[in-house]
Symmetry: C2
Subunit: 200 residues, 2 copies
């Protein structure tokens, strides 16, 4: 059985994946969103939402779709997906975002800093981050282009599984922003690295 | 009268803007798309589609909307926009894209390399690029998330005007990809830097 690591509510975790390994991200309680970013282990290739939506021809990615790097290399393939809806449009929440959009002061917990700190755990010196793949985050693009936040579709125990297509440094957070979590306080996520994953 | 610089079909141009100056991008013949990327003049802040769609709450940006940096600073405000539709989802076309999606060999002209070369003209050492603001490019997000290319809405002489909110290094291309130009071969774009722009 693969070891399960928990990502406490509103925090982040750094992971290293070898090509061919699988990363399973689980929403143990349901309705929780998170952010995922990926770098090549050398740090010179970064996840790219622009490449990924171009090559998929769509903004909602799920089973069979690929997350591409900014150098047009395959990084992660989604091989299973219970919830079926994630976002690839929004920047990670950040101190500046909470200040501007919610009037919060000080340094509220936020995915940008949690991703940065998690990336240091896996040898990546973080700079301002790319747009992450926002796990379980449910954003609908309305016909006029406005973006509507809906509660995540993930139910307790739902997971998404990625196959690493290159050696990767990855960071995953549980997002602290209530707006992304159906209005609820943040809950933990969990991850497993699976050497031999077989579709159930 | 501001000086008009032409961007020949399928090429790029680098520009420096001082805070408060206006950049006017014109589609002289109509139906031509282009890419725009922006960096702070020091090169340490980059245009971010994730920040911009987050703060706008929508994917189609037009008059009154702001292009934000990855450090949550205002870079460019759209102060006028004849065509009213541009894309902020697609990565720039690249050698790899033409190879994978069109089976082209060799090194076809492409916006990624044209943007990189244009950025060198304004002191930015290019790395793999962020998702650009795709001028006049008309991509509709369908209800199921699929992306549909439509011809640009720009007619001959249509323009979009940006106010620089910080000192900027900017690159603008005329996109060589027929798919982005209603199936037509690429045409030139033109730019003007305007010190005192007044809405006509």
């Amino acid at each position: 059985m693969p070891q399960r690591q928990f990502i406490p509510a509103g925090t982040g975790l750094g992971l290293q994946l070898r090509r061919g390994q699988h990363l399973r991200v689980i929403d143990p309680e349901g309705g929780q969103s998170g952010d995922l970013v990926a770098f090549s282990q050398a740090g010179d290739e970064r996840l790219s939402n622009g490449r990924s939506v171009d090559y998929a021809g769509k903004v909602y990615l799920s089973t069979g779709d690929v997350l591409w790097s900014d150098r047009s290399k395959r990084m992660l393939t989604i091989v299973a997906d219970d919830a079926g809806r994630h976002d690839f449009l929004y920047a990670p929440c950040s101190v500046e975002m909470y200040r501007m959009q919610y009037g919060m002061t000080g340094s509220p917990p936020n995915c940008h800093d949690n991703l940065s700190s998690a990336l240091r755990q896996v040898g990546i010196t973080p700079d301002a981050l790319m747009t992450p793949f926002n796990l379980f985050m449910n954003v609908q693009v309305l016909p006029d282009g406005r973006l509507e936040f809906l509660p995540p579709k993930s139910r307790a125990g739902d997971a998404i599984v990625f196959r690493a297509e290159m050696d990767l440094a990855v960071a995953v957070t549980s997002c602290p922003c209530a707006n992304c979590n159906g209005g609820a306080p943040p809950k933990p996520l969990a991850v497993e690295i699976v050497d031999d994953w077989a579709k159930p």
